[in-house]
Subunit: 172 residues, 2 copies
Amino acid sequence: MSTFETITQFSRMLNNLDEWLQKGAAYGQSKNFEPDVLGQARLAPDQYPLVQQVQSACDAAKYAAAYLSGQKAPSHPDTEKTLSDLRARIRTCIDYLGTFKAADFAGAEERRVAPPWMQGSSVRGDQYLTRIGVPNFYFHVTTAYAILRHNGVDLGKRDFIGVRNWADFAES
Amino acid sequence: MSTFETITQFSRMLNNLDEWLQKGAAYGQSKNFEPDVLGQARLAPDQYPLVQQVQSACDAAKYAAAYLSGQKAPSHPDTEKTLSDLRARIRTCIDYLGTFKAADFAGAEERRVAPPWMQGSSVRGDQYLTRIGVPNFYFHVTTAYAILRHNGVDLGKRDFIGVRNWADFAES
């Protein structure tokens, strides 16, 4: 599981997240409620609502790609309010991830990674990705999924994994 | 991020999950409700309750380790009812994961993996781990966390990530 393959998987999951939001929008229309209220839905009063779960998922993926390649991450301000805004944010993140090639992550596992919140300390790239980047990314996409599911959106495990056709996948 | 490192990370996360269950038990006692009712809590009527989320997280980790090493997975029957049972199941899974050494996963990325549900088809080991094993594992641990959080258990992101002391982590 190379760093590049992990970043590619983040893009796949963000595409899945985009589909869940589309299902959320369709659900709102079918039930005659304003779909954008889902953006403020949350599972606990002291946990982020859907809007921030999506923003955080995007940031987890963006920073992992930037840190592991030694690049400076672009700024993506947290200004989204609607499901449509969130879908655009996801698209911006996927487009950014799509600028990377496997060679950009040469030596990534040994690279020292020093996020600002570590206040001057650093960790090896592989430790960052395995213990921070990947869990954090999946935390936010799964919580976004759970918020939608909890609110009645018709989602299942295949929507989460995003593999529609096992036969195609099996060729890989 | 080697296969062995990913399996090691699964063990870390299962240890974290064990701590969340302990917090859930303590919460029940502090609020004078039977803590084991949390085992049947769920976020949506057609989604697994906590018991099955924990069982599924354990199985995702167990099967990833078995498939990627070419071993037959041991049987861990889904008989758990209480939080204490679930903690024992987690311990059984962590003990199993602890039997593996890095060398057991030599060639794991190219190994063909053929889970029964693929009905005779197979995928490369690295594809299985990146696209099925890791997302599935994090799906179930995050949903278990979300169920507890939704029911009022005092958990935060640091409990999820499980890194208590950034300074220690930074040496890695």
